[in-house]
């Protein structure tokens, strides 16, 4: 029988996280710092709004673009929080999670062979989605020793006549790094100089701890060349509801909508109603969760540095990316040994690109007790391997 699979899909490697998940599954008493989702349950008033809507029989399709009420609520939110104004009727689309928004964004703008600059380490989906859309990911490492630094000259050197877009994600999964205004302005200057589109995944924007998040499209002249991607999963602890959105110029949203209407039709209505409740009354929930994440971040950063595993202080999201370079193991070897010997699950940095070698991703979307227990076990692990 023929191999029915498309040639393109054969070129895409399976997710490194998936492989590691297969190792962890079935193991007992594992302390996991490998979970990239909030450990909070969606606030009850949000759940209750969705339950009420189901009781009222609101179980239908919505407009392809999503409920207008939700688009208005998102437009109000973006204006209130980040001072950027979008037309809810023409410049916003509700998607099935931010993941779908990314997928249809790339498919809407990339021609075969178009290059997209992606800063590594990066979330597992970006490069494969670019490839699936016919584009070519151009990965640029942020790693300089143990630090994460944006080398703008290096980025500019990679820009060719095929470069269509720069992709940025801040605060970042897996590193927690965010960008301050001076860095964002330099991205803006590059985009303007080379007439590039910027696709900006800001799903962790609300979870910025030491300064206010700046929305890329709020920079002068950038709204016209930005696809802003975000959603409700992280800040509102709504991962399973699968509600995301994209905000972009009208022609881009129309192009994205063409794909969305055929592939997805619309995002689930219950999730959209829950998202309205989240924006209307969820601000205090976000504040409370953010406060707790910040405390956990401080504990875990101090913990890793005490273990002499250098860990930069991440500005946002709920990840730290400590260096394990002083150990005689690759990232993957370290994670497998740690899992087998101490039953602590962390994710190899290489799951987020080859430049993640020498690092591990640890999520602090876990209780302080679990974080401390994981750190205690890692200490035992280091002592056993004469590394402490």
């Amino acid at each position: 029988m023929k191999d029915f699979r498309a040639e393109l899909i054969k070129t895409i490697p399976p997710s490194g996280i998936r492989a590691f998940f297969d190792l962890v599954i079935g193991m007992k008493d594992v302390v996991s710092l490998g979970v990239g989702e909030p450990d909070f349950v969606t606030p009850w008033h949000i759940c209750e709004s969705a339950i009420f809507s189901i009781e009222k029989g609101m179980t239908s399709y919505t407009s392809n673009l999503g409920l207008l009420e939700l688009r208005h609520a998102i437009a109000d939110y973006l204006l209130r929080m980040f001072s950027v104004k979008y037309d809810p009727k023409q410049e916003l689309i509700i998607t099935v999670g931010a993941s779908e928004a990314m997928d249809i964004a790339f498919r809407a703008v990339l021609n075969p062979g178009d290059e997209v600059i992606i800063l590594e380490p990066s979330y597992v989906a970006y490069a494969p989605l670019v490839t699936l859309a016919g584009g070519v990911p151009v990965n640029i490492s942020l790693i300089h020793g143990d630090e994460l630094v944006v080398d703008f000259e290096k980025i500019e050197s990679k820009i060719t006549n095929k470069t269509k877009a720069i992709f940025i994600n801040y605060p970042n999964n897996p590193t927690g790094k965010s960008f301050r205004k001076d860095e964002l302005v330099r991205f803006a200057l590059l985009a303007e100089k080379h007439d590039l589109l910027v696709v900006s995944d800001e799903i962790y924007g609300e979870l910025t701890y030491d300064y206010d998040h700046i929305c890329f499209s709020s920079l002068p002249g950038m709204k016209e060349r930005t696809i802003l991607i975000s959603g409700f999963s992280k800040a509102f602890a709504m991962t399973g509801w699968r509600i995301g959105y994209a905000a972009a110029p009208h022609d881009v949203i129309e192009a994205m909508m063409k794909i969305h209407q055929y592939a997805m039709l619309c995002a689930p209505i219950s999730g959209q109603i829950a998202a309205i409740a989240a924006l209307e009354r969820g601000n205090k929930d976000v504040k409370a969760m953010k406060k707790e994440y910040k405390r956990r971040r401080n504990i875990i950063v101090e913990g890793f540095n005490k273990l002499n595993l250098y860990c930069a202080n991440p500005e946002g999201a709920f990840y730290v990316f400590p260096s394990i370079k002083r150990l005689p193991f690759s990232s993957e070897e370290f994670c497998i040994k740690l899992l087998n010997e101490e039953k602590v699950a962390v994710v190899p940095g290489t799951a987020f690109g080859s430049t993640g070698e020498g690092f591990i991703r640890c999520a602090y979307a876990a209780s302080i007790e679990n974080i401390k227990e994981a750190l205690r076990r890692i200490k035992d692990f280091l002592q056993r391997h004469d590394a402490l």
């Binding site: 997710s15 996280i17 590691f20 998940f21 962890v24 599954i25 193991m27 594992v30 996991s32 490998g34 979970v35 990239g36 989702e37 450990d39 349950v41 979330y123 597992v124 989906a125 999964n173 406060k291 405390r295 956990r296 401080n298 504990i299 101090e302 913990g303 699950a345 994710v347 302080i368 401390k372």
Partner: protein, 165 residues
């Protein structure tokens, strides 16, 4: 962070978990341990922090302790309002909490006794007979669903995948 802001941040942690150590609190707030220790001691001395207690699920052990809420209507007194009668009432050790209320009653008491008989005795013999107490309405607590923010009815945390992107 000013000392007042820091005190609030410390209290915010301790009201959720009174066992949280000085080391943990210092790390969580990125402050020196010495400063955290001093501020906690200061708040203990000035009675901002009254005590450290556990929130327990009484259903987990055999307990006949009886709890009730009592609405009290009483006459305020010239010059002291409800304070004098409140003082008479809160001195009884059975009274765990006492609040001045708006609405249908003047004072609300939370009473705990070893048995229902103890509570009945307190209400009939001590509380209802006080001067200025006009009436009492006693509500016995039958089941606790939530205590100090903790759900007690066996709800378990939903499971998550051990590794996700």
């Amino acid at each position: 962070m000013s000392n007042d802001e820091l005190k609030k941040a410390i209290l915010d942690i301790l009201v959720t978990d009174a066992k949280r150590s000085v080391d943990d609190i210092a790390a969580m707030l990125q402050q020196p341990k010495k400063k955290i220790k001093e501020l906690i001691e200061k708040m203990e001395q000035d009675k901002t922090i009254l005590t450290y207690k556990a929130v327990i699920n009484r259903a987990k052990f055999d307990s006949d302790r009886t709890t009730c809420l009592i609405e009290v209507q009483c006459s305020p007194q010239r010059g002291v309002g409800f304070d004098a009668i409140a003082e008479r009432i809160y001195k009884f050790p059975e009274v765990r909490s006492l609040y001045l209320m708006s609405g249908g009653c003047d004072l609300m008491l939370l009473i705990e006794g070893e048995t229902m008989r103890d509570v009945a005795f307190f209400v009939a013999e001590k509380l209802a007979t006080l001067d200025h107490v006009k009436s009492t309405t006693t509500h016995f607590l039958l089941k606790r669903y939530k205590e100090d923010g903790f759900i007690l009815t066996g709800q378990t945390n939903p499971s998550r995948l051990a590794i996700t992107p």
